[in-house]
Amino acid sequence: MLAMRHISKVFRTDLIETHALRDFSLEVAEGEFVAVTGPSGSGKTTFLNVAGLLEGFDSGTYLLDGVDTSGLADDARSRLRNEKIGFIFQSFNLIPDLDIFDNVDVPLRYRRMKAAERRERIASALDLVGLASRAHHLPSQLSGGQQQRVAIARAIAGDPKFLLADEPTGNLDSLMARQVMDLLEQINEMGTTIVLVTHDPELARRAQRNVQIVDGQVSDFRPYEPHARPAPMAAAATA
């Protein structure tokens, strides 16, 4: 499904080079629900951006659903992203000018879908997240939890194989966070592969597999770790 081998990603500025990912290898199988944890600045977002084709990488190989992504042009990358990947962000990132319906419509527009099919998909996605009645509200008229559910509806409306979520509950209280997590589990049960970055050990524990990133690498396979692992994660790993 997703296979990264020996990926390295370096950010260069005038002053410093940051090795955000170094010799990074990870495989995620179809249908998995993987939680990614790690200290701030360890490279979790960078990993998601590379996985979601929002960013390139410097060396290594990355196969997405069997397609070698290195050397793909912008058009092809955009199409892959549009068809195979759904994004969920910490700050929801709904488009403020557009109502809920039009927000969910966005990825479908870039797929040049017929209007009738788009309407149908938007309706069923909003149905799934329980917001069908709010289709013509603006994002600003909804609570944070509702907005994140709209973002989830938008991410799954195009029926992607992959859902990438970067701390989707970071801006929500624990009740709303649990609702979002319930929704993600439900979506995973319907067959969508999910990679979830989170700080919350309780949420991470609900995933099928936990992966920890430290210093730009998946730490689980390393015998020696220079950074202390947060205690709850250690507990989760042994559980």
Partner: protein, 443 residues
């Protein structure tokens, strides 16, 4: 997809009405200033007798000083006017369908008619009978005079429409009396509105000189010993004591125009001119190289620099102003696009390609420029209307050049499209280039 882009563009423009109206106004002002300037420029340089451009010619001969050209700025051109005897010979040649020799006179015009205004100083064109037919001058009442009236000369006159308004209250004054410097002339015709701009047929005192109040036969020149109120130029040290001396001198002060209906006539006229100059040369005149010209009106305007550097400078300034407006718009648009970069990043994450993002932003710029251009056209119409009102005078003059025509409207549309592309291309391109993840992090 295009409809979707336009819909998004409209939403986005409505989101910041302040910035949007600023950009629309910048585009509109730039376009309006350009259109107004172009219209005036076009009016100033346009040929008021375009439909006769292949028939009507100014006649010039190089009778000037053998030592130097008449005009240092145009050493290749003969002087713009003729001597009395050359002008007389040209009109007597018998070849043109119509031939005119003339000059600008001056004097006090008055009338005894009830309700008439006080006597006033006015320009009086002293010309020959063919003037009206050659330049297609429209009449309101009556007509011109017969050729015989030129040689008589008969005391007949043609009034401009404005003169007829002032001295006869606009009534048909044919048959009534008008006075010019206390000599009575019988009115034979009254012109309809006629303000050729530029007044190509006599450019001596500027292309937009005050028009004539009346017209009298050329034969009055020797009788009344009239001198030109325009330009008289002499190069030869000659003793000029009497009016007869002046008429025989090398001084140039008359304009000569001919109407030649076809190229055969034109060739014959050219041959006649060359022959005439060759004959005169034998008696010691015309010591410069042959330079006998028949010049159509459009070329005549160019030769005489009617579209002067002043006007070209004005055009350059107008376009500089438009560029400033457009650069401002580019800046504002760029700021606006970058300001909503995180939204663009979201779109990229959801599958928009660089090209789609580019087109969407271009649509926004295009919509903006469309509205700006619309307002610009409106503003330019208003501006031209205002200019006309400001310069309105009973004599016409400059106002007649300020008519909006199809030409300047076409230029407007071209400008609008150009403005859309110029102002939108760069920001739209810039926004497409940045990596999408950068936007997502920037919030």
């Amino acid at each position: 997809m295009f409809g979707y882009y336009v819909k998004l563009a409209a939403r986005s423009l409505r989101r910041n009405p302040g910035i949007t109206s600023l950009m629309v106004l910048a585009i509109a002002l730039g376009i309006a200033v350009c259109v107004i300037t172009l219209t005036v420029y076009h009016g100033m340089s346009s040929n008021p007798l375009w439909w006769k451009n292949d028939r009507v010619y100014a006649v010039t001969l190089d009778s000037w000083d053998p030592e130097e050209p008449a005009d240092d700025k145009h050493p290749d051109l003969p002087p713009p006017q003729l001597t009395w005897r050359d002008a007389e010979a040209v009109t007597a040649s018998g070849i043109p369908l119509r031939a005119v020799r003339m000059f600008k006179g001056f004097g006090v015009v008055s009338s005894d008619a009830a309700g008439s205004v006080r006597p006033e100083n006015a320009i009086v064109r002293v010309t020959s009978a063919d003037f009206f037919g050659l330049f297609d001058v429209p009449f309101r009442h009556g007509g011109g005079w017969k050729a015989a009236a030129d040689s008589g000369p008969e005391p007949v006159a043609v009034l401009s429409r404005e003169t007829n308004e002032r001295f006869f209250g606009g009534a048909n004054s044919v048959g009534r009396t008008i006075r010019w410097d206390d000599r009575a002339f019988r009115v034979v015709g009254v012109l309809d509105d006629w303000h050729p701009a530029p007044n190509f047929y006599d450019l001596n005192n500027g292309a937009f000189d005050e028009p004539e109040a009346m017209y009298v036969p050329i034969g009055w020149a020797p009788v009344l010993e009239l001198k030109s109120a325009g330009n008289t130029n002499c190069w030869k040290p000659e003793e000029i004591k009497t009016y007869a001396d002046f008429m025989a001198s090398e001084c140039i002060w008359l304009q000569a125009w001919v109407e030649l209906p076809d190229s055969a006539a034109r060739v014959r006229m050219q041959g006649w001119l060359d022959n005439y100059v060759a004959t005169e040369r034998k008696s010691g005149r015309f010591q410069r190289p042959d330079n006998n010209r028949l010049t159509p009106v459009d070329q005549w305007l160019r030769d005489n620099d009617v579209v002067g550097n002043d006007n070209r400078m004005l055009i350059a300034l107008a376009f500089a102003f438009l560029s400033v407006c457009l650069i401002n718009t580019v800046g504002l648009l760029l700021a606006k696009f970058l300001g909503s970069a995180s939204i663009t990043g979201v779109r990229r994450a959801l599958g928009a390609s660089r090209r789609q993002v580019f087109l969407q932003h271009l649509a926004e710029a295009g919509l903006l420029a469309g509205v700006g251009a619309g307002l610009g056209v409106l503003l330019s119409l208003l501006g031209l209307y205002g200019l006309r009102a400001m310069y309105a005078s009973p004599w016409g003059g400059v106002t007649s050049v300020m008519h909006v025509n199809a030409w300047s409207l076409a230029v407007t549309v071209a400008l609008a499209v150009g403005a859309a592309l110029a102002a939108g291309l760069y920001p739209a391109w810039r926004i497409g280039r940045l990596a999408p993840s950068v936007y997502l992090k920037s919030q």
